[in-house]
């Protein structure tokens, strides 16, 4: 009953005229930018974050959340209709595009829309029940536990997003180092500022994010030089009853898988999609058709995608630790608005927490409306040639990074990180863990110093406390496993090379 009461309270805030408007704007703009080739959720959110500065806190966070799942959805639409893969719509390209080739594009879009709606709804129930409970657990965490949890998060994100523990960890550590730039909170010493005044407050999150994701993505598209062929097929949206019946079980399976994987550190939409797709491929009644344009291949992954996008808010709002790069960016947005996400947030700002939860469901309804009946209008975005688009994207990157402090010097930082991001891309290093490291770096340092102060410089405190001990044990096991895997792989590879 308590839950219903809280949700009603949340809807009271989400359904005010202003907040409804902000959610709607967020969803629409997010979908629009998400559709554009090359701009995934990370670039979209950092590009649009400045738009929310002049809006009241609750409304601006609702709008940002709307931008996030709008972008997510826009990705899947461009994946289904034109096989443009973004970081988290790779799975949608498989069966979704196959369905388009078979002339069932409308059905694929309807399936994705409905399944996302189901996935989102399930995830919101999970979010509303689990987040407050997890918040209680988070009060038991001491500084050592926070350190261990963050390291565990780095490891999971590194492994999941880049597939290579070593490269991902390197990126996370570079992020942590970049996070130390600026005035040290404890001693007041200005670190790594090279006596430049505007670096005293540290490097801006948006400057880094726009450089690493926005600029780099644009240059990447320019380098590949591919021209898109806009989708011109017919779209028939309404499914038959037998098709409709096939969507539901698969979408429900995907919702459960997605909700669960969304909570885990390093989890989130990408891994949830792959997991849901794999499960459908194994357990679905129509498993033989999957891979050749089956409804299940679209429904399961779309539901998991949406569910995981919602439940990944749980660690951020309950413990105060973002689990992936998108959530790190969200945390940056919370902090810019003067809200520290964490166990105290639900108690201190109940209208914000429950309002946000309720607005997610409202946003779900908007997306269903935006994407199913109106989808054919969205696709006209692709008639704009990239040669027109990219100078504009670069201009918006400049305005975005400038408007944070009204400081043109920030554009140089963005340009610098654009170059750094390009270099990383060429070296096959994924910058997503860097963003997480950058956000968590100052927290890691603070908690590490505190833990060392309490234990008088004794490292055994990390092992003797049950929570941090367990997490560090898991990290050690994982690293050992990776070493063993590499040992056997290199033996396999090196034999033919020697011959």
């Amino acid at each position: 009953m308590n839950l219903l009461h809280n949700l009603a309270f949340g809807f009271e805030h989400a359904l005010t005229l202003h907040n409804l408007m902000y959610t709607a704007i967020g969803c629409t703009v997010g979908t629009f930018i998400g559709l554009l080739p090359g701009l995934g959720p990370l670039a979209t959110i950092s590009l649009l974050l400045p738009l929310t500065y002049s809006i009241p806190t609750t409304g601006s966070l609702m709008m940002l959340a709307g931008i996030y799942y709008g972008a997510q959805y826009g990705d899947s639409v461009s994946a289904i209709t034109m096989k443009i893969p973004h970081a988290n719509s790779i799975v949608a390209c498989i069966d979704g595009y196959q369905m388009t080739l078979k002339g069932k594009c409308g059905l694929a879009l309807f399936t994705a829309g409905l399944s996302s709606f189901i996935g989102g709804t399930v995830a919101i129930v999970v979010l509303a029940t689990l987040a407050p409970a997890l918040g209680e657990v988070a009060f038991l965490f001491g500084p050592t536990d926070y350190c261990a949890l963050m390291l565990f998060g780095f490891m999971c994100v590194s492994f999941v997003t880049t597939g290579s523990l070593l490269n991902g960890l390197a990126m996370a550590f570079i992020g942590v180092l970049l996070g130390t730039v600026g005035t040290d909170v404890n001693s007041g010493v200005a670190r790594f500022t090279m006596d430049v005044t505007f670096l005293a407050d540290g490097i801006g999150l948006i400057s880094i994010a726009l450089g690493l994701f926005g600029i780099t993505e644009v240059v990447k598209s320019l380098d590949s030089g591919s021209q898109l062929t806009p989708f011109n097929g017919k779209i028939k949206l309404i499914p038959t009853w037998s098709e409709f019946k096939r969507i539901i079980p698969s979408a429900l399976r995907g919702s459960v898988v997605g909700s669960f994987l969304g909570i885990l550190p390093g989890g989130g939409p990408t891994i949830a999609q792959f997991a849901a797709y794999a499960i459908d491929k194994r357990f679905s009644k129509y498993k033989d058709e999957i891979g050749h344009g089956a409804i299940e291949g679209v429904a399961g992954q779309a539901a998991a995608d949406e569910a995981a996008a919602r439940t990944s808010f749980i660690p951020l709002m309950a413990i105060g630790i973002p689990e992936n790069a998108v959530m790190a960016l969200m945390m940056g947005a919370f902090i810019i608005k003067g809200i520290q996400p964490g166990p105290n947030m639900i108690g201190e700002h109940p209208e914000l927490f429950w309002g946000l939860v309720a607005s997610m469901w409202v946003g779900n309804c908007f997306l269903l409306f935006l994407n199913v009946p109106l989808v054919r209008y969205w696709l006209s975005v692709f008639k704009i040639p990239f040669s027109v688009l990219f100078p504009s994207i670069l201009f918006f990157c400049c305005i975005g990074t400038y408007s944070i402090n009204n400081n043109l010097d920030d554009i140089f930082i963005t340009a610098l990180f654009g170059f750094v991001g390009y270099m990383f891309m060429r070296l096959k290093l994924d910058p997503a863990p860097l963003l997480l490291g950058f956000i968590l770096g100052p927290m890691l340092e603070e908690n590490f110093r505190r833990a060392m102060l309490i234990s008088r410089g004794n490292f055994s405190a990390f092992i003797t406390r049950p929570i941090s001990g367990t997490l560090l044990g898991l990290i050690a096991l994982f690293i050992a496993w990776q070493v063993v895997v590499f040992y056997f792989q290199s033996r396999k590879v090196s034999t033919p090379v020697a011959v």
Binding site: A170, F173, L177, R191, S392
Partner: protein
């Protein structure tokens, strides 16, 4: 030298050295009372270690050549920096025109008329930001 895995390790080591040597300028303190230099130094050491492992590992895996194309990134960076400098010293309208004309060399086709149209559109949007959203842009 044209080995991506090797270059990657070296780049990581270089970044670690920049931050690690920088951290030595600040007081390190000791673990129970950490100075401002301790934490960056620790993280740099870990990063250096990862770079070292990458370099060693690159000896054991197949060579992947490093491919790069400096033209597009150079044009984009030049456009961005020119935009910032022109906006700082003259005004943003010139900055926008420079940004569009400079970066569009990186595109597949180049057309002066189209560039003028894009510039005009972006300038209009900039004015909209100024008067609609209340952003302070150095437009004039």
């Amino acid at each position: 030298m044209n080995n991506m895995n090797l270059v990657r390790g070296l780049v990581l080591m270089a970044i670690a050295l920049i931050f690690g040597l920088g951290a030595l300028n600040y007081s390190i303190g000791h673990f129970s009372r950490a100075g401002p230099g301790l934490f960056p130094l620790m993280v740099s050491c870990l990063l250096f270690l990862i770079g070292l492992i990458s370099v060693v590992r690159s000896r054991f895996v197949a060579v992947v050549p490093l491919s790069y194309n400096m033209k597009n990134i150079a044009l984009v960076l030049l456009g961005l920096c020119g935009f910032a400098l022109l906006s700082q010293h003259l005004n943003m309208i010139l900055g926008i025109v420079f940004l569009v004309f400079c970066t569009s060399f990186a595109g597949t086709s180049y057309s002066v008329v189209r560039n003028l149209k894009i510039s005009a559109g972006l300038i209009a949007i900039a004015f909209m930001f100024q008067y609609g959203l209340g952003l302070q842009l150095p437009l004039l």
